[in-house]
Amino acid sequence: MNEVSVLVGGKAGDGINSAGAMVAQLLNHLGYRIYLYFDYPSLIRGGHNFAIVRGREIATATCGTQVDFVLALNQETVDRHKDAWKTDTAIIFNTDLVKATGQGIPVREILTAEHAPDIMGNSAVIGGFAKAAGIPWKIVEEVFHSHIPKGTDLNLLVARRGYDRVTTVHPVPPISNPPVPLLTGNEAIGLGMVSGGLEAYVSYPMTPSSSLLHFLAEEQEKLGITVVHPESEIAVILMAMGFASAGRRAAVGTSGGGFCLMTESLSLAGMAEVPLVLLVSQRTGPSTGLPTYTGQSDLLFVLHAGQGEFPRFIVAPGTTEEALYWSGIAMNIAWEFQVPAFILSDKTLSEGTYSTDLSLVQKIPQGDSISWDRTAPYRRYADTPSGISPLAFVGTGGAVVKVNGYAHDEAGITAEEPDIVALMAEKRLRKGEALARAMDRYQQVSLSGNATGLVALLCWGSTAGVCEEVAGPLGLRVVRPVVLSPFPTEPLRKALEGAGMVIAVEENATAQLATLAGQHGITCEKKILRYDGRPFTPELLTTKIREMLS
């Protein structure tokens, strides 16, 4: 199978992510399926950043440890990543800044010759890479025209000079696949939310959720949504609840620390039955932890956050296709059941870029919430068999809508009488049961790899890609609950049927999914855990599994 990996490295501020994105688009237009991993420390300038772009003939969602090309924009890229080199790795470097063996591009000289600004320097190196990989100039032109809308022609002149300086060392053969959208997980989540009727996105910046705030803010007019960045995460969640109580579908986005600030209001949403969608994109914790690195250690926190008992929906997409679909479904579920609905992501998914096969994305149905039938007087918390009370919003003519975070009666008036308190608690529980029943509509558990394999990898979220890639050659089964609340006990049991050994693969130190499955009577004997902020690589995971099986 054709496959290629490219490492692009430089100083923070050198535009490494965009250079990586251009390399990804070149390979996309050659027909490769892409995964881009972007690694950067938590600073603005000066640190070492790198992106690894991996292209394969079939879908990929993980990076290997070995690369075929290195594009070095700083000396560290050459010095620090030698363990990623193969004997024939091609090094393309900026001769102004880097001493290396390989093919040098005199970036300064090229920019001067074309009277081009410094910001176009990376185009010379990308041009050099294109030639080294034998990519036809026509494709370079096509990609620059689509993805560098400003100064395209000058960028192309600069790229051409880089292209002409280099000889082809590793021809990357074209594949007959058409190019597909390359999306980050956060972009897919945002577009999925919009397909699910999003009208307002409220967020306070926090890595790795911020890129969704930036993306939706940039596209707000086109997508017809309101984007607000208020004073704190506490304000974020409450503003979103204000939107919802006035009838507008709203979502918030944050990471663990910001979500800590939201928990009191999350409980309010549970009690007041305000529909709400939350993206929680995990990073390495506890506390500030590693702001720009990944982790899966907030599953049990998100599951239990907020005082009191109330139903919630949690989905953890593993691919951008799932993110597109499930983010829309999360919007619908929040509004159908009037519950908080979580999209649980992590740095790997949120900030990684993936080829997105739209043919795999099911259509998101137009979600219905149950509306008030105008029988007066309106009772916001009317008791019903499903526990779901018909919705009217503040401002709905003829209705007095009383939303309340205190224990309340059906009309929304504060009540402390034991029978009413119990009645309403049971009503909320019945909503949870209705939600659980509705889960039958969906494929809650993904089963892939060797579906009858005796050894099963049990994973969740972004580790989908690496587990599936590793499982192939080893003949393993991969079982992955996509919905985590309500917990899909029966579908999970079924997917694991006949597996003699279940190995939990998680990016946390305590195997939180395995713990949760155990609470539902599904035992998982073995665990392979990574908790250093870096995603599993196929090589590392293969080694660990082989050790376990030997």
């Binding site: 307002a200 997508l223 208020p230 704190s232 503003m239 006035a246 401002g395 929304g412």
Partner: protein, 283 residues
């Protein structure tokens, strides 16, 4: 809905003599005035925090969002943003809005969002049975400070002047007619309207004997002058003995922050088209 009963059947649990009765009665009159002028009360939303003041959400028969301690303003901001045609009134407490939720108050003023905030400032925590708040006078002996507080109160009028509020007033729960006028002005004001209401707490801070001889109506004061407003605001610092001005300290017109600046909501078809366009840009 017209001609509605403005008070619900909920059992009232304020103490006898509580200043909240006056506030509720005043608001009820304001609502009746609004309805008489031909506006529907369906378009009015009351957002409360937590504390004695907040029970008003149960008692007034209008749309309400009974929120949590300190958090009236972000909820109200979301509602106003979502539907700029609504009139949104926050009833907040002094512990509620000057302590736990102070950041939201400052930011709402900074944004000049078109809301009216009425602070039921009784200068004590009532519902938690008598602790000092940010506006209790120095030396206040509450349950958490039996030896007396060792910090000065802050001056909410001055704070709001510094934060960019575009309507700033002070009322008194024992002067209901002027209070009614102030609340009407606050609601009519296009922008962030702040009304600090000195309110009697009959149980934990019965300060009527202090306030009544000291209060006077602001007359001949130019509310358009920020400098004059600052001087008047500093006359009484909520701590030392001084005359206490009631009325409008400051008012100016300034662009408001609301949903009218937001994008137009798309139909489902337009939405899918927009999503497609973004996907194409990524290919």
């Amino acid at each position: 809905m017209t001609g509605r009963q403005l008070i619900t059947d909920a059992q009232n649990t304020w103490c006898p003599g509580c200043g909240n009765f006056s506030l509720q009665h005043t608001l009820k009159n304001v609502l009746a005035d609004i309805e008489k002028e031909g506006q529907s009360l369906d378009n009015i939303v009351l957002v409360s925090g937590i504390g004695c003041h907040a029970k008003i959400a149960d008692y007034l028969n209008i749309n309400s969002f009974y929120s949590i301690h300190g958090r009236t303003l972000p909820v109200a901001t979301g509602i106003k943003f979502a539907n700029p045609d609504l009139t949104v009134i926050c009833c907040a407490g002094d512990g509620d809005c000057y302590a736990e939720g102070l950041d939201h108050l400052i930011f709402a003023a900074k944004r000049n969002i078109d809301l009216t905030v009425i602070v039921h400032n009784n200068r004590v925590y009532g519902l938690t049975t008598g602790q000092y708040t940010p506006t209790s006078p120095r030396g206040f002996k509450g349950k958490s400070t039996p030896l007396g507080t060792r910090e000065d109160p802050f001056n909410p009028i001055e704070l709001m002047l510094a934060s960019g509020a575009t309507y700033i007033a002070r009322g008194y729960s024992k002067k209901m007619d002027p209070l009614r006028t102030l609340i009407r002005q606050g609601i009519s004001h296009k922008g962030f309207a702040f009304i600090d209401v000195l309110q009697i707490c009959a149980t934990f801070f019965p300060a009527a004997d202090y306030y009544s001889p000291r209060v006077y109506d602001l007359k001949g004061h130019d509310p358009a002058s920020f400098e004059a407003a600052c001087i008047k605001a500093r006359e009484w610092d909520y701590n030392s003995d001084a005359p206490i001005a009631l009325g409008t300290f400051y008012q100016r017109n300034s662009p408001v922050f609301d949903g009218k600046t937001a994008a137009r909501t798309l139909s489902a078809v337009e939405r899918e088209q927009a999503v497609r366009e973004v996907l194409n840009k990524r290919t």
